[in-house]
Amino acid sequence: MSTASTSGTANDPRCGCAEGSRLTSRRTVLRAALAAAATGVTTYAVGDVSTQVSFAAPGWNGETLVVLSLHGGFDGLSAVVPGGDGAYYAARPTIAVPRSTLLGLDQMFGLHPAMAPLVPFWKNGTFGVVHAVGQSDPTRSHFAAMEQMETAAPGSSVRTGWIDRTIGSLGTGSVLGAVGISNQQPRSFAGPAPKTTTTSLDGFSLIGPGDDRPTWHAALRRMHTGARPEVAAPATTLLSAMEDVAKLPGRTAGPANGAAYPDSDLGRALAQAAVLKKSGAPVQVIALDYGDWDMHAGLGRVDGGWMRDKLTELSSALAAFATDLGSAFGSTTLVTLSEFGRRVGENASGGLDHGHGNAVLLLGGGVVGGRVHGVWPGLGADRLVDGDLAGTTDYRSVIGEVLQKRCGAGSLGTIFPGFGGSPLGVVRAR
């Protein structure tokens, strides 16, 4: 399979420009905003008219990248199944997804039937896949692989996370520029650019003396003056973020458009991500984690078990998110990432050991969906790498294209130092 060529994208990765006239107008707006920012007077209005809110957000074009980490080693071969490759069935005598049950995508690939909620988005071209995605260093250690993926600077001395560098280079300066819907900062957030984490926007406030909140905040700010950065930064970021979030409209509203999230941590986290996006906050990156994919044993069958349950939850949550966003879906791009894929052949436990190449799922208004992108290396014995699917597309190519075409990034030299991949055509330029 070859890479996509029909999306009208430019080949220059530093430009990512297509659909020239629209881009020109956007750039003009952007330039004006930046110029105004230099004088310190601008506010950049974003969001639907009904929920419009103004934030000082120079450098933000309105796009939000949502990074959903599938920690534990997602088996892309069970999700986007190479049903047209006989080697897949030979390698997995008990856990393969039968061809007759696949939701047909093309001659080679079909979706696991648990992913049915995403089929409408596949059909309308907003859900797509890149297959055989990998990292340049083929480590099979979860922890080394996560570290490398989220640092995204192999072979360099850079130790910050790639989302930190993205925010730093696109920076709105808002503490809501990058938001982790979690308690812990994702590793990709490591570094100096402002970011915040929250598990819920409703209740994102301090308890304490009820009638004297500004005095309470002021005392907390004062005591952190001169404190060590690792203590002072989260404290002052929190105070600013609470003050910003208090201004957001609709932060306690329920899902829109009949969206039905699963009653689960992922469902709640994506619902919060949608609230944040719909509020018009200048959020450039939202990071979420949906783990527990380390299926060394008992992966299950197509009609029941661990994988079926996880894919059901994932797919219904993603479909609800897309539905809930409404018009904001057009300026949202969601990408799934996992540290590695899994071994092609099943083990004695009805599970899969650590592997390499993997599938990346893409969902959003600008996605070139309805197709499997990438270069399929095949599953024949001579095509495998140490028993694993080869990685023919570096994951940074996928993210880099989204950052350039959707998020307004220029050169990727800072975000992905030393990386020189080219875009595949997985998204349309804004």
């Binding site: 979690s182 005392a219 203590v231 083990n347």
Partner: protein, 391 residues
């Protein structure tokens, strides 16, 4: 499972064996088995008692062997279903990466595969306990990171597995890496090389005895210079706050500790609950997020005011100090000494006085209406200071 988590948290708060509880927590993270986790619901309690706590102050090699043969670990990392025909690499890999040498040791993927193959045969028997099933063992000769195993009979496999585990437990690379785990907890997020060298030397000389390694650490100048180096993790902040406030255990039932447990679990730091096999991170960078700061400050307020959980026996704010000093400046100083061990720094003191709307010399007394109504807020703010956040 939840009982094990709650019991551990209660011990961390109220046990008189504080050093033991901290060391147990370090080993529970090294030889980590996620708790609660449905697959080990019947075995995790025993793992805590008979693997981690039994050997926490003993021999690491004994702890490692006990762990390898325990149904909780055999299930958690899947060795129970690993066979010569189809080895499962999960335990064989994490044994090297997480329990002993560490990924920086530079072993190869072939070492990982050989490790998994040598470990075949360790499984769970019909009685639910760990056992060795010779019929599953791969007795081929192999080498793992320099540990040579000749071709052997399946019956001899059990002995070779033990020899392999004990070799790993006292390998100098293991010694240094696990010394670093201890020193990261007790000394610094970046413990000095000289300290790790000394601890690793003791480790190798004593064959992996924990107490002499701890003594080497406590005898070092690095340990004594480590005050004010570490940022408290969420779990440590809970424990320290309740201990420093002198909060008493509930007089009956477990309603209060259960509520505390859910809070800590919600913050992602309940004892043993980390979802992945590598155990909790133990450095500030992993835990200093805005959302955790919010939780921390809100719990300080709850505990300082005695609002929640109501079952616990909180010390009323007015009883924290033997007497109320005669000025607001002295009051803030006294709170700092009582709750953080020393006076607050100038910025912190200014913040508290600013909140009180008083100056250093403003007179103060136990009959002062503001003090009676608001001392709990000053207590909460004292617990929110960087001086309390850093230990």
């Amino acid at each position: 499972m939840l009982e094990t988590g709650r019991l551990t948290l209660a011990r961390q708060i109220w046990s008189t064996r504080q050093l033991f509880e901290v060391v147990v927590d370090v080993w529970n993270n090294v030889l980590h088995v996620t708790n609660p986790s449905s697959e080990v619901w019947a075995s995790r309690q025993d793992y805590d008692r008979n693997v981690v706590r039994r050997h926490a102050f003993g021999s690491f090699g004994d702890m490692l062997v006990a762990s390898a043969r325990h149904p909780a670990m055999l299930t958690y990392l899947d060795n129970t279903s690993s066979t010569a025909a189809q080895p499962n690499e999960n335990y064989g890999r994490e044994l090297l990466e997480l329990h002993t040498l560490g990924v920086e040791a530079g072993y190869s993927e072939a070492d990982v595969k050989n490790s998994a193959r040598l470990l075949t045969g360790l499984t769970i028997g019909r009685d639910g306990g760990g056992t060795y099933d010779a019929g599953r063992h791969d007795g081929a000769g192999r080498s793992i990171y320099g540990f040579g195993v000749p071709p052997h009979s399946a019956a001899d496999g059990n002995g070779w597995i033990d020899a392999y585990l004990r070799w790993l437990a006292v390998h100098p690379v293991t010694a240094r890496r696990l010394s670093a785990k201890l020193a990261t907890r007790f000394v610094s997020d970046t413990p000095p090389a000289a300290l790790l060298d000394a601890m690793a030397r003791t480790w190798v000389q004593t064959g992996g005895q924990v107490v002499p390694v701890l003594r080497t650490m406590f005898d070092s100048t690095h340990f004594w210079a480590s005050a004010g180096q570490k940022v408290r993790t969420p779990q440590e902040d809970y424990v320290a706050t309740l201990r420093t406030l002198g909060t008493g255990m509930e007089s009956s039932g477990v309603g209060g500790i259960t509520k505390i447990f859910w809070h800590v679990l919600d913050q992602g730091h309940a004892p043993m609950a980390w979802p992945a096999p590598n155990g909790y991170p133990d450095v500030a960078a992993a835990w200093t997020s805005p959302s955790l700061t919010l939780s921390r400050w809100n719990r300080h307020m709850d505990f300082a005011a005695g609002w929640y959980p109501p079952e616990l026996r909180f010390t009323p704010a007015l009883q924290l100090l033997p007497s109320i000093p005669s000025t607001y400046g002295a009051l803030v100083d006294a709170l700092g000494v009582r709750l953080t061990g020393s006076r607050l720094n100038a910025d912190e003191k200014a913040a508290l006085l600013q909140y009180a709307g008083r100056s250093e010399g403003s007179p103060c007394s136990s009959g002062d209406r503001w003090v009676q109504n608001n001392l709990r807020y000053l207590v909460a703010l004292t617990l929110d200071t960087p001086s309390f956040t850093i230990r």
